[in-house]
Symmetry: C2
Subunit: 296 residues, 2 copies
Amino acid sequence: MIVQEKLNHFINTNRELIGQELQYHLKQLDIPEQLKASMIYSTEAGGKRLRPILLMASFDAYNHDNNKVLSSAVALEMIHTYSLIHDDLPAMDDDDLRRGQPTNHIKFDEATAILAGDGLLTLSFELISNDLHLTDGEKVQIIQLLSTASGPKGMVAGQIRDMEAERKAVTLEELETIHTLKTGELFRFAIRSGAYLGGATNEQIKHLDQFAHYLGLIFQVQDDILDVTGDAAKIGKPVGSDEANDKNTYVKLLGIEGAVEKKENYVTKAKKELSDADADTSHLMSLVDYFSKRDH
Amino acid sequence: MIVQEKLNHFINTNRELIGQELQYHLKQLDIPEQLKASMIYSTEAGGKRLRPILLMASFDAYNHDNNKVLSSAVALEMIHTYSLIHDDLPAMDDDDLRRGQPTNHIKFDEATAILAGDGLLTLSFELISNDLHLTDGEKVQIIQLLSTASGPKGMVAGQIRDMEAERKAVTLEELETIHTLKTGELFRFAIRSGAYLGGATNEQIKHLDQFAHYLGLIFQVQDDILDVTGDAAKIGKPVGSDEANDKNTYVKLLGIEGAVEKKENYVTKAKKELSDADADTSHLMSLVDYFSKRDH
């Protein structure tokens, strides 16, 4: 219980901090009003800030001077937000609602949504390159990791593979490749860059990298499980919508029980890697359960 | 005549070099085929490589070891290409042809075009961050300049202002603000980063920055003039299409003679700044005339 309360405190404090930092960086921009409003709209639209919180938890296992991670955490959330804006576009997933709110191109228009996404993506690199708390070497390392994770070898590849896999049967292996690219790469960036900036050794980072891989898969299996067993009000979409849209999911491939078993298996593996990382990873340990048991 | 031949040699050699480098970086990518084909298609689509050539000419005024500028030149062309792909999308300018070839979303599809643009944008920062010829300090400086020039304060702002100005009358001042953001910022990046990497002093860079500003405007006035007086086969679109589309142009605001006069005025100013930059700027000097007198 105390562990749970500690984690909740950590999550709430940092969620608020990330929100403030995001707004600070966006509101001060001297740019066209419509573009600014559109960029702010999607970063404010009720995101859980999971990725920056992971980054901060990973950093926190080695270091407590938050100033060193804020720009990377904010940049990561900007990149995640840009990817959602572009994913929702009519030519992509064509979604009108996200988290119960109109998507960016519905609230504004398609052209603005495309440019808001482009703007957030580019701004994320500007932000890191201008951070006064990082050395040049640290900035370059973070930019390398972030551009690789989010670019054509990472998240963008996942997005195109996901579209190619639509309405065709895929194997479990193919499904995991898509998730690893589309979601897992940003999770890995969060964990690796947090640990790197915190001062972890290469050996520790290696274990954390494996941990992040499993955590990404836990996140995704739980997403698929929630689609079947969740509460529509909490998950923000109708229950069973994956099946209705003929989506490739763990539940479709393994059944509910198989999916739960798979998730438990990943939880065990993730925790093993954390133990091997040999640091104060208590927040990360609690986050595994948080991810595995989340109801939205 | 000899000056002209020297410039042509410089342009042709570096155009080929940029093309080779671009292909080298793209072809080796281990990414989904469709994404890769789409990214390569638009970078190969007959671009003049003006921006990277400017960058290399600016560098060449101070230094001759090309290795130091190649990644910045290639990254710049990737960013320029991404902006064209996104500009051509149905929700933006809705163009089916560019330089006489099908635009990216026509050749592939809209989703692929959006992702190819996102991919090229992200890859440009990855490329610079991994360049073995640059120090960490140089990488950070280039990434700062490039992200600022191409992001929401620069090119992206120009794009949204351009759309907002469509089909409404603008003043000459507003027209120049749009061009300065939409085209000028990448020209400024080319000139500034080339000079910076070449070892120019801050004082020299200041003059070159002004030079780049005027060069961008010369480029744009000539574009507008060519739309009226050019050869359709050479400019790759029907003569008079700006007027037909009711576009805001220098010719519309000043008439042909006024536009030519404006251009000559900028040529004089650009050459003055170059003289003040005090280096071997002979290629840049010839490029002013090349930009001013180009027929496509």
